[in-house]
């Protein structure tokens, strides 16, 4: 139970993930939020990779690069243009 359990790469990624999650919540403009959310998604992918979970990372990758943005962007497009 020493400090050394967490390798530096993991600590840095964790810090970035925490910061990005905060940013996603605090970004009130949804168009910008989906961009920040994309960055958050990529950071999670990196985190899962350094947590030795490539399967989950792959899942998160397809979801955060295609799933979320496509659905949300279209929803935004609709609500803005009508």
């Amino acid at each position: 139970m020493t400090v050394a359990t967490l390798v530096p790469l993991q600590s840095v990624t964790l810090a970035l993930v925490a910061a990005a999650a905060t940013l996603v919540v605090l970004t009130r403009d949804v168009q910008r939020q989906i961009l920040v959310n994309g960055i958050y998604g990529i950071l999670l992918v990196i985190l899962f990779t350094v947590f030795a979970a490539p399967d989950v990372a792959l899942s998160m990758l397809v979801v955060s690069t295609v799933g979320y943005p496509l659905v949300v962007l279209i929803a935004i497009a609709r609500s803005r243009n009508k």
Partner: protein, 114 residues
């Protein structure tokens, strides 16, 4: 800080809840909900991590090599699917709201109260 990953997960959960409570836009709210959910991914994977362990895939590595827990990873996979479906359902409801009253403000869709 060997509890840092857990605390990060706790923080993500709390900040997501804050976003949900203060949200003025259903799309923003739905994304905050996915943020809250992402705390469970981080927590689950952190819980199953083994110091110095590799991925639980034994192709090209010897059986018995230290590897992290595969179970939390399979739970997280299910969890991710759930998050996509819930997001899609809430956005679909939100779009229906928008086509009714031209707004996505959750405070203004109150029809039933009291």
């Amino acid at each position: 800080m060997s509890v840092l990953p857990y605390l990060v997960a706790g923080w993500i959960c709390v900040i997501g809840l804050y976003g949900i409570v203060t949200s003025r836009d259903l799309i923003h709210l739905a994304l905050c909900l996915t943020v809250t959910q992402s705390s469970t991914y981080v927590l689950l994977l952190a819980v199953g991590y083994v110091q110095g362990g590799g991925p639980p895939i034994f192709k090209g590595v010897e059986l018995g090599t230290t590897a992290v827990d595969p179970v939390v990873q399979s739970l997280t996979l299910t969890d991710i699917v759930v998050s996509v479906t819930v997001l899609a359902l809430i956005l679909a409801l939100a779009l229906d709201v928008h086509s009714e009253i031209e707004t996505m403000d959750p405070d203004r869709i109150v029809e039933l109260q009291g």
